[in-house]
Structures are given as C-alpha cells and as structure tokens.
C-alpha cells in the first residue's frame, strides 16, 4: 500500500519526542538529563489524541504511573506498540492497560470501564452487565471471577488479529 515505512528508528522517535516541547528537551542526551514531559503534551500527539485509552497507555508506560513520560518511557511505548514487538510482550502491556485499578487482575469494574470507553457510554447498564458476565465466563479459566494475566494471554492466543490491532503507526 504505497510506501509503508513503519520501521522507525530511535532517532526519528527522539525528534518526535523533542518536537512536543523543544524548549524542555535538550538536543544532547549524553548526560542523561532528567526530563519528563507532562501527560497533556503526550496526550496531544496526533496518534494518541483520539484514542479512548490514551490516558491508560501513558500511565502504563510512564515511570511514575501518572502519565508523565521520560524519553525512555516514550521509546518503550512506541516500540511495544510497533510491528516488531512480540505477541507476549504486547499481551502483557495490553493487560496492564485494561487493568484500571492496577491490581494485576482485570475484574468486573475494570471491564465495565473498558466497555464504556469502547462504546462511548452508549450501552445501557443491563447490557454492560451482561457483556461483562459473558466476557468473564468465556475467558476466566481459574474460576475466580476475574481475569489474570494467564487467562488474558490464553485468550489472546486465539485472537488472530490482535497483533495488527494493537499497533500504532508513527
């Protein structure tokens, strides 16, 4: 499809990072300066600004868990979301993104929040409840009423297009 240059280099990513706030980010990184860009700048990137999960993505990949990202976090984020990342790594980070309360389990409330973000709050409460029940019913293998990382990975293995949907082009 035209020229599909999706293998981006760290150099390109650095310049994208710097373009968000040129006055904050120095050109010279040899002294490992401690620069963090606030979430508002990250969330305004064109690749992320319409994504309903952008806040969770930024929180998952940032050191402080608040969405303020250093250059390393930024590089990590786009390399996991690129084509080259292996399936297990993507599944791990996808799990963390959908785990809103950071308790290493996707419970019913996490699912409800995910669902509302996916459908723009347009499902009724009954429908949300039914879908959450069905999801846990289908994916929960150890029968504890919530999804662990293993359950999630087991389900992802059966999804053929996970790799192509969990992917951001930059």
């Amino acid at each position: 499809m035209g020229n599909k240059q999706t293998i981006f280099t760290a150099q390109q990513l650095f310049h994208r990072y710097r373009d968000l706030a040129p006055q904050l980010v120095p050109l010279d990184y040899t002294n490992h300066p401690d620069v963090k860009l606030p979430y508002e700048l990250i969330g305004s990137m064109p690749e992320l600004k319409d994504n309903p999960f952008r806040q969770r993505i930024a929180e998952v990949f940032s050191e402080d868990g608040e969405g303020n990202m250093t250059l390393d976090d930024f590089l990590d984020m786009f390399s996991v979301l690129s084509e080259m990342a292996p399936r297990d790594l993507k599944a791990y980070y996808a799990f963390k993104i959908y785990d809103f309360n950071n308790d290493d389990f996707i419970c019913k409330s996490d699912l409800e929040k995910t669902l509302n973000k996916l459908t723009r709050n347009e499902l009724t409460e009954d429908e949300v409840r039914m879908v959450c029940e069905k999801v846990i019913d289908e994916a929960d293998l150890d029968n504890d009423g919530r999804l662990s990382l293993e359950d999630f990975q087991h389900m992802i293995v059966r999804a053929p297009d996970f790799l192509s949907t969990f992917h951001i082009r930059i």
Partner: protein
C-alpha cells in the same frame, strides 16, 4: 462408528473458611446452549464449530494488485470498502483486456478487410437527426447510424475473402474470441475468491481485540466505537432472541411461523410483480420499437422502458423486503442473509426474465410454427437482425445504469451532504449523510458485469464501453466516499455466482438460428457449428495432433506436473482432460445445451457444478 464428543474444562480447588471445594469450569464444548422446555433438557451438538461467522466482513481478495489510493479508504472506513474498490479495479482491468482480445482478433481484421464486404440486404433506418451528444450516446446505437456499425453484431458480415493470399475466417475468430473471453473471465474469477475474514468473535475477543489502536481522527474513532457498539448489541439481541424463542408458548409459535410463511409469499409476490412488469414493458418496448422514431423524451422513455423498470425494481423491492423483515422477526443474522439473498435473486433473475422475453419474441414462442417464424425459424419481420437487437438491449441496460449512477451522484448525494452539513434541524440530522453500503454496491458491480457478459457476444465493443463506465464509476464512488459518505456501520458477507448466466447465454447462442440477413453467421445453422466445420477443414495431421493433446496419454503426465506445481486451477483443467478430452468435453456440453431433452440436465449440471464450483473455487487467501 463411535461418535466423538468434545469438552474442554478446567478444574481446581477453591479455598474457603469452612473448607474448600472442588470446582469445574467448562471452557468449550460442542454442546450448544441447553434450554429447558417443559422440564425436558435438549442438547444439540455443533459441527465444525471453529467458525462463528457473526463477525464477518465482505472481503474480496485478488491475486496481485496494488491499491495505493484505497489504502486510505481501508484505514478510515474499514476493510469492506477497500475490497469494493479492489473488485472494481479488477473489473476495469478484466474489461480492458477483453477489449484488446476482441479488437485484435475481430475488430482490426474486419476494419482492414472492409473493402471486401458484400452488401447484404440489411435495411437500417435513417441516420440520427439530432447531433447533440446525448442523442449520439443514447439514440444512434438504437436506430441511427451507429446501429449498423462496429458496435453491433450485424456489421461483422464478412464470410468469404477470395483473391487473397491468406484466409482469415472472421466467423470463427468471432466465436472463438467470445469463447476465450468467457474462459478468461472464468479463470480470473478463480483468482478472485470471495472470502470472509472471520474470527472467533466471542465477547472477549470484541472487547479486548476489537479496538484498532492505529485508528486516527475523530470521525474514524467515533465510527469504530459505533461499530463495536453495534456488534455487541447484535450479539446480545441474538442471545435474548434465542431465550425468547424457548419461552414462547405453542400458540405464539404457530402465529409466528404462519406469519413468516405469509411474509415469504408476500416478498415472492413483490419479486414476481417486478418480473411481470419487466416482461410487459419489454414486450411493449419491442412492439413499439418502429414507432419510436421521435428523438424526444417520449422516444427515450419507450426505448429505455425495460431498463427503467429493472432499475426501479432493484431499488423498490429491497426496501419493501426490509419492511417485511421487521414483521418476520428472525435473528438479526438470518435477516441479513435473507435480505441479501432476495436482492441477488431479484437482480439476476430479472435479467433472465428480460432475456426470456426477448427470446420468446424472437422465436414467436409458443406459436413457433405459425406466423412470422415459419420461414426462417425466427421472427424475421420484426427482427431482421435479432442479435443486434439483443445487443442493443444490453447496451441500453449498461448506459441507463451509468446514467442513473451519475444522476444520483450529482443530484442526490451532493445536495444531501450540503443540507446535512449546513442545516442542524432534527429530522435532517436523523436522516444523516449517505451511508456507503458495501454489499449493494458490490451487487451492482456484479450485475453490470453480468450484463456485459451477456451482451459481449452480440455487441463486441461492449467491454470497451464497460471499461469506460467502470472508470467513471470508480471516480464517482471515490469522490462520494470521501466527500459525502459516512461509512456503513454494519458489515456483511456475500457470495457471487454467475456461472449460471454463461450457461444461459450459451443456450441463447445455440438455440436460436442466427439471422439470415446480417452478421458473420448468416450462413450457418448455429453459431457453434463453424468450429466443427473449421476443425474438419484442418489437415489430418493437425486433427490428430489436437486429439492427442486432448487425450489421456498426454493429459495424465501434465496432470502429474500440475500436481507438482500445486496450482489449483491447473489441477481443475487437468481433471477435465482426464474425464474426457477437452475438445470433446466442450463440444459435448454445447451439444447437450442445444438439445436438452436428449442429453438431460443431470450431465450438464453435474459437469458444470462439480468442476467449476467445487474444484475451481480457490480458497480465500489471508
């Protein structure tokens, strides 16, 4: 033989205050949902259950091809739209190549040998009176100077060329070109497989892998969210319908089923009404053909009446069937399939009705031995050159289709978008922008291509015209998509099957005796008979060589080679050779079609179905 049942389950031990307990959870089983009716438990077992088609998109994969401009469409609007444009592009290429084939073998030799034409008594009426462009496109092919021109069959009437160093058998070239054109289309369709991208679309799949992170832009994001919303709602609705169905009392069930039967008859009635309308208007149009000399609006209406009725039917009847579907209350998945089946049936069979009407008029069916048909075997008074008339009908269909598309594009879609964007009152916003519905558009493409296939034998330039038409269509649809449309919320699946029409066409070509007064076959008894005649005229050596090529001694090693090459199409052709020699096989099919009562439909049907449908349908590639 033992039946095998499947069940995948996890077991574990749950710790609790008063001691633990063992739990067991079924992950997957081939039992369907069990619903209890009257205290009895029913268990149904699924077969081949890896394949849930609830989430399917219309996708057509084409071997090779680069679709740069539709890449953007795919990202913003979804995969179904991209496949529509891929298919359209493929059809443009197909028609263009066919035109080259026809031009090379029939057109150019006829053009070069023009001065040798012996004039036959084919009387055609006065040239066009009006010089404006519309008249030139719409009228002159029908009764003006273009009727007797390269456009139609009647012009190609060279049969002998004495006093030349070489002998170019125009009739043979004509029919072989047609045969190769059809074969080429069939081969190309082998490469184009209609597949569906299915996944196991359980709820967890939709929730966790449904979101496309590379979706850019506010509008595309909203669309994707609506898409997911719709999928979930459809799935939930199906579940609740299933539960409802189990809960229905017997009397309500009886009412529902009788209502469904009634609605089926009603929809068949609508479709039948459309067919009757086509039949009546075609007869009217043919009978009044000589009186439609005027070039004004009235003449236009009379000439194009069948096309108008067909187009109107294709638009109105699906709308009515949609309303009927509301009453029938099938599952949403069933409703979609049913709507699509009805639309396909309507379109293709209405074309068949048109052809049947023409045939019955040309051969004075059912009074074949009376009146005008006794002398020539066809109605020579009204149809001096029946092939040209059939070609004209197909030409009219094609041009009217193009006219309607351009008119709708200019007069409906652009204003609709302007109104919706600038006026924010409630009813207008509820109507909303035009939705680009992929299945009906693809159906339109298939229908247009079928018309061209039917008409190509009688109107050799029709593929070239169709190429232009599809190019115009491509740009119109592209502009519409990006400027005027919001993408369709629903995704469908559809299959196309047009082999039926090639069989009908061959029947037409062979059953009716070619016109005495025009065309390259005026001296043969059937169109196909030129091929055996020429074959017999070849030298003995050539004949034996051809028989050898078709025989088993040659084809079996070729088959082995084809297996190594692992080409599905080659295997299919080799199987034809092994069953019978290819020339004989094809000859047999033609003979079978020309005398159906003797040969029996079974042979033809099994031959065509078995070989072309089962073995030649390529699997959809990822």
């Amino acid at each position: 033989m033992h039946r095998v049942y499947y069940r995948v389950h996890t077991t574990g031990h749950k710790e609790e205050e008063g001691g633990g307990h063992l739990w067991e959870k079924t992950v997957w089983t081939d039992e369907t949902e069990t619903y209890q009716n009257d205290g009895k438990k029913k268990v149904w077992r699924r077969r081949k259950t890896g394949h849930v088609w609830r989430q399917t998109t219309l996708s057509v994969t084409h071997g090779g091809g680069n679709v740069a401009c539709t890449g953007i469409a795919a990202r913003n609007f979804g995969g179904g739209v991209q496949s529509y444009f891929v298919f359209l592009r493929f059809l443009v290429v197909l028609n263009f190549v066919s035109f080259f084939l026809i031009a090379g073998f029939v057109l150019i030799p006829t053009f070069c040998l023009l001065e040798e034409i012996a004039q036959f008594s084919c009387f055609y009426s006065q040239p066009a009176k009006c010089n404006c462009i519309l008249s030139w496109i719409f009228f002159s092919p029908l009764q003006g100077f273009m009727e007797y021109s390269y456009l139609f069959y009647g012009y190609y009437n060279i049969t002998e060329m004495p006093n030349r160093d070489f002998f170019y058998n125009i009739p043979l070239a004509y029919i072989l070109t047609a045969v190769f054109y059809f074969a080429f289309c069939l081969i190309s369709r082998v490469a184009v497989a209609t597949g569906s991208s299915t996944g196991v679309s359980s709820y967890s799949m939709i929730v966790f892998t449904g979101w496309d992170y590379s979706c850019l832009g506010d509008r595309a994001t909203k669309l994707k969210q609506k898409n997911i919303l719709y999928q979930l709602q459809v799935d939930l609705e199906e579940e609740s319908r299933k539960r409802h169905k189990a809960d229905l009392s017997t009397s309500k069930k009886v009412i529902l089923y009788s209502l469904r039967v009634l609605m089926t008859f009603l929809s068949l009635g609508f479709i039948g009404g459309a067919f009757y309308g086509i039949y009546v208007t075609t007869q009217f149009s043919q009978v009044n053909d000589n009186r439609a000399d005027e070039q004004g609006i009235l003449g236009f209406i009379i000439q194009y009446l069948p096309s108008m009725v067909i187009t109107a039917g294709n638009f109105v009847v699906p709308l009515l069937c949609d309303k009927i579907a509301l009453v029938e209350q099938y599952f949403p998945s069933t409703t979609i399939i049913l709507a699509l089946l009805r639309a396909v049936f309507l379109r293709l069979v209405s074309l068949g009705v048109l052809l049947y009407t023409l045939w019955s008029q040309i051969t004075c069916y059912p009074n074949e031995l009376k009146g005008n048909c006794t002398l020539c075997g066809y109605n020579y008074k009204e149809f001096q050159c029946w092939e040209t008339r059939v070609g004209q009908e197909m030409y009219k269909l094609t041009m009217f289709d193009l006219l309607i598309t351009v008119a709708v594009f200019l007069l409906v879609e652009f204003p609709r978008r302007l109104v919706v964007d600038n006026c924010s009152c409630k009813p207008v916003q509820w109507v909303g922008r035009q939705e680009f519905v992929v299945p009906s558009n693809v159906l339109g493409l298939v229908y247009g291509q079928t018309v061209v296939w039917v008409g190509a034998l009688f109107c050799p330039l029709l593929p070239a015209i169709n190429t232009l038409k599809f190019v115009i269509l491509f740009y119109c649809k592209k502009i519409t998509l990006f400027q005027n449309c919001r993408p369709a919320l629903r995704t469908f699946r559809s299959t196309t099957s047009t082999f039926f029409f090639l069989v009908v066409l061959l029947k037409l070509a062979v059953l009716i005796r070619p016109s005495y007064g025009c065309g390259p076959f005026h001296s043969s008894s059937t169109m196909w008979s030129t091929v055996p005649d020429s074959f017999n005229n070849l030298s003995n050596v050539t004949q034996e060589f051809l028989f050898f090529v078709g025989s088993q001694a040659f084809s079996i090693p070729l088959f082995a080679l084809a297996m190594c090459v692992n080409s599905q199409y080659a295997i299919c052709v080799m199987m034809t050779c092994i069953l019978n020699s290819p020339y004989c096989a094809f000859h047999g099919v033609i003979l079978c079609l020309s005398s159906p009562w003797q040969c029996g439909d079974v042979l033809c049907r099994s031959f065509s179905n078995c070989l072309w449908e089962k073995h030649c349908t390529a699997k959809s590639s990822a």
